[in-house]
Each structure stands twice: as C-alpha cells, then as structure tokens.
C-alpha cells in the first residue's frame, strides 16, 4: 500500500526543516521549541483521549514527574541527564500503571476523577517538599548534555525537539493503523463490541494511559532542561486543561490535530501577551467554541470539508 513513510510525514518534515529559516529572531525560535515540546505531550495525550476516549485532566502531573525527575536526579544526585530522562519517563510510566491498573477495572469516569486527584496531589507535593523540589520557587536544572556535548543554543534545541516530535508523530500514525490502534479506537466507539471481538478493554486502556504518561514525562524532562528551571506550575490544573484543550481543539484521534492544537495553544497566549491569570478563561473559551462549532476538532473538520470539496468537483 504505502512505503515506510507517509506523504503527510514528508510534508510535516519539510515544514519542520524549513520553519527555522522563516524565524526572524530568537524569540520566535524559543516559541517554536516550546510548541514542539508541548506537541510531544499532546500527541501522547491524544493516544489516550482521542484513540481510547479516556479523558485525563491531570496529565500535567506526568509532565511534572518527568521535569522534576530529571531536575532532581541531575542537580541533586549528579546523574547524567540522558539517564535521568530515561529513568524519569520510566518512573512516570510506572506511576501511570499503578494508578490505571485498579481504576480501569471500574466503569465510567473514574479515570478522569483519578487524574484530577493525581494532578492536585502532584502540585501540593511539589510545593511542600521544599528540600527536594525547591518548593513554590521551583529549582534550577542543568543543561542537557551527553558525552561532553551540551545543548545550549535555541537552534540545537529546535533540532532535538523536532526530532523527538517526528518520532512521536510517526509512532502515533503507525499505531492508528495497527491492530492495537483499532482496538483502542474500537473500544472508544463501542466498548461492548470491542469486548465481543476479543479486546481486553481494561488492559488496552491501561496501556494507552501508560504510553501517554511516558510521552508526557519525556516532554517534561526536555522542557525542564530547555528552560533550565522547573516550577510547580508545570503540574497545575491549568496546564492539564491546556493539554486536554490541545487534543480537543486539534481533533480527537487526529495526530496532526494534536500538533496543531499545541501550536495554537502555545502561540496564542504569546500573541495576546500579558494574559497572566486569564489563560484559564482563554482555554475554556477555546474549548467551548470548539465543542459548539467544530465538535470533531480542527483537523478532522478540515479533512471532511476537503473531501466534500473534492467530491463536489468530481460531480461538477
């Protein structure tokens, strides 16, 4: 059918390669790196929310686990950053597994409530464990380095973040069209149908949750190194809602939708400037307008329109 790389991936790759040339200053590059890192987490959350239909409103906790895991392991224990990143992502995955395993045996919205609780707990712990986390002031994080090479310039960070995002996108697109992806989307469409077809629904939900937590933690670790700083606001409810909004705005189950959501929700506050304290209102408004006017989200709605447009042209 297709080669190893989809046309859409080539387009995405071309955009990522050409974008730096359109960037006029370091500020724009800085925003671009933040977008890319946020998009990694959004692509991950889409696997849980878009594919499997399980809503998490505490995913910032996993970003914070990655960020603080990296921060504490490198600055307090002197671990090499790459090892710290891997350990933090693995740790976040284990935490996700421990939470999801018992809860997903239950029906209904128990996972959503649990993720809400997790987010709140993570935030409180980060603020109160001053000796470990620096408390409300946060803590500094050393630069990312491996084998004597340190990432310092924003250009280098752009390259790394883009590479990680390309991998995440490729994995997500592969998964979409695989048996595991169909099982996840299937249990979202009709849980009883998926079960009758032999899908162990609880197990698949757990796996999607763990995978999304893993990607969130990777995004968090990299963000911590990039900003050279972590603060408890990384685990805030606002941040969790922001992530969920990226997925909903971009379009449930759409990989590029999650990326587009990350672009819009990271760039928009920068454009509007000085939103201090009103971000939540903006996210809420975007979420509401999406639900009302584009219930499928940006990318699926655009795809529908394009398809209809093509068909209309054929008829003419």
């Amino acid at each position: 059918m297709k080669g190893l790389v989809r046309p859409s991936q080539l387009v995405a790759l071309a955009i990522l390669l050409l974008l730096p040339f359109a960037m006029r200053n370091n500020f724009m590059m800085d925003v671009a790196v933040r977008v890319l890192l946020a998009a990694v987490a959004a692509v991950g959350l889409n696997l849980l929310m878009g594919f499997a239909g399980q809503v998490s409103i505490g995913h910032a906790a996993f970003i914070a686990l990655g960020a603080y895991g990296s921060g504490i392991a490198t600055s307090r224990f002197g671990w090499p950053p790459v090892l710290a990143l891997v350990a933090a992502a693995a740790g976040a995955s284990v935490v996700a597994w421990l939470i999801a395993k018992p809860i997903l045996r239950l029906k209904g919205h128990s996972l959503t409530m649990a993720t809400l609780g997790l987010g709140v707990i993570a935030n409180i712990v980060l603020i109160n464990e001053v000796a470990w986390t620096g408390g409300p002031d946060g803590m500094p994080v050393p630069p990312l380095q491996a084998g004597g090479l340190a990432l310092t310039s924003v250009g280098q960070w752009y390259a790394l973040a883009a590479a990680v995002l390309v991998l995440a996108i490729a994995g997500s697109l592969n998964l979409y069209d695989s048996p595991a992806g169909r099982a996840l989307r299937g249990l979202n469409g009709s849980e009883v149908a998926a079960r009758v077809m032999g899908v162990d629904v609880a197990s698949f939900k757990v796996r999607a949750f763990v995978l999304s937590a893993f990607l969130a933690a990777v995004s968090g670790s990299l963000t911590a190194h990039y900003l050279s700083f972590v603060s408890p606001s990384m685990a805030s409810f606002t941040h969790s809602v922001e992530l969920a909004t990226m997925v909903v705005l971009g379009g449930m189950a759409s990989t590029y939708g999650a990326v587009l959501g990350a672009v819009v929700l990271t760039v928009l506050p920068q454009l509007l400037g000085g939103l201090q304290g009103y971000e939540m209102m903006l996210f809420g408004l975007i979420l509401m307008l999406t639900m009302i006017f584009l219930p499928k989200g940006l990318v699926p709605s655009l795809e529908d329109r394009l398809r209809r447009g093509v068909r209309g042209a054929d008829d003419a």
């Binding site: 009758v196 032999g198 899908v199």
Partner: protein, 248 residues
C-alpha cells in the same frame, strides 16, 4: 458444544430469564423465539458474557464460562451480533471488520508504534473486503461506517464476527428492520455460514425465516422455556400456538 443449565437472571423483581436449560449441538442452527419481552436478548447477553446470570451456568465444550467476559469467550471461539447494532461509528466500515480479527493479530502497542504490523494489516484489509463482499456489503469497502444504511450495518456486524473465525456465532435478530428481499438474502447467508461449519444460535422474530433454517427451536415465554424441538414439533405444539403463534 453449548450447554445452558437452569439459567436465570432477575432485574429488580422481574425474572427476565427463569431457569432455562437447553443445549446446542455443534454444526446446527439453533433458534430462540418468543414474544417481545420473553427474555431472548437477555438470554443472549448471559450466554455471551455481556451480562452475568443470577443463577445457573453456561458450559462451552463442557467447561463452565462463569466469570468469563465477552473477550475471554471470544478467545474460546464465541462471537455475536447485536439487535440494535454495536459498531464503531468512529471507524471505517472495513476497519470494523478488521477489528473482528483482533485475536488473530499482533495487537501489542510496540508492534503498532513501530509499524511492524503493516504487512499483516495489508493482507487483513483484503480479507476484510472479501468478507464484506461475502455478506453483501462489498460496495461499502471504502465507506465510513456512518454512511451505511441500517440493513448494511447488520450485515457488517456479521462480517466482523466472521473475521474472528468463530466456532459459535450468536445472531441477535439479524433480520430485524429488513425488508423481504433483504431477509431472504440474510437467510441464505446464515445457511452458508452454518454450512461452513460454524454453529449458529439465532434469536429472531421472523417466523418464516426461523422455520426455514432452524435444526432446533427453543420457545421462550415470560423468561421460561415453553417448548423445544424441530420446526415441525414446535409448529404443532398447542402451548406455542396459544402463547405465540395464535396471538396474531
């Protein structure tokens, strides 16, 4: 192959299924009939593991299925369709059929992420198209599930079940909502499924269809077994005539 012993299910004070026993021989077409509310669908839900019985047990190949959910039963070769259609409306028609083959695929997340299932998936796509052709919805191979009319959805469910290569297939009112031509086609389809060696248990309202294709018929009324036997025996049973056939 399937044995049901003293199966009961109560909802509140209502005994939807009340001490029903029967057995299904491998390779036969076994039908369950009865007036609305007789407990047919509840019986199906109990047998397929969607609901848990209040009392009694179901044996598959002599083994109790107590505590097994539909996914575990699928592993043992059981599949079913639904009266009101349970398809994944967020997927394409063909993907629904491919989902039916879930247990025959490498469904680990890692294999999916790395794209290692592409070759197998390609073969599965073709197989799904063939199955759709076989049940008469071949022209929807590239359609989204939401674009299919109701009659096609019912057949798509059958194709999805067949993709799992079950040994035992429970069909919950496959002809409900279909016109006469479509019903005739479905009857032929069920006949060919049975001929291919799959044991079929059928819940159906369409008497003509039931009398036509069933090797064995079980009549339920108010959750209880009213009669059992071949089409001819059931047709002549005075209780059945009084409770069901004569009521028209």
């Amino acid at each position: 192959m399937l044995e049901v012993r003293q199966l009961s299910k109560s909802f509140g004070g209502v005994r939807a299924v009340d001490g029903v026993s029967f057995s299904v021989r491998a390779g036969s077409v076994h039908s369950v009939i009865g007036p609305n509310g007789a407990g047919k669908t509840t019986l199906f839900n109990l047998v397929s593991g969607v609901d848990t019985p209040s009392a009694g047990e179901v044996l598959l190949d002599g083994r109790s299925t107590a505590g097994l959910g539909p996914d575990a039963l699928a592993r043992l070769g059981m599949s079913r369709t639904f009266q009101n259609v349970q398809l994944c409306m967020n997927m394409s028609a063909r993907e629904n059929v491919m989902l039916g083959a879930h247990l025959r695929t490498d469904s680990t997340l890692l294999a999916g992420l790395l794209g290692r299932t592409r070759g197998a998936d390609q073969a599965l796509r073709d197989e799904a198209a063939q199955l759709m052709e076989q049940v008469g919805v071949g022209r929807y191979a590239d359609a989204h599930t939401t674009q299919l009319p109701f009659g096609a959805l019912k057949r798509l469910e059958i194709a999805r079940s067949l993709a799992g290569r079950p040994r035992l297939l429970l069909l919950d009112e496959p002809a409900a909502g279909l016109n006469e031509t479509e019903t005739h086609e479905i009857t032929e389809l069920i006949r060919s499924i049975a001929a291919s060696g799959i044991t079929v248990v059928l819940v159906e309202h369409d008497m003509k269809m039931v009398m036509n294709i069933s090797d064995h018929i079980l009549v339920l009324d108010y959750g209880k077994k009213l009669a059992e036997g071949t089409a001819e025996e059931v047709r002549k049973n005075p209780q059945v005539i009084a409770a069901y056939l004569g009521s028209d």
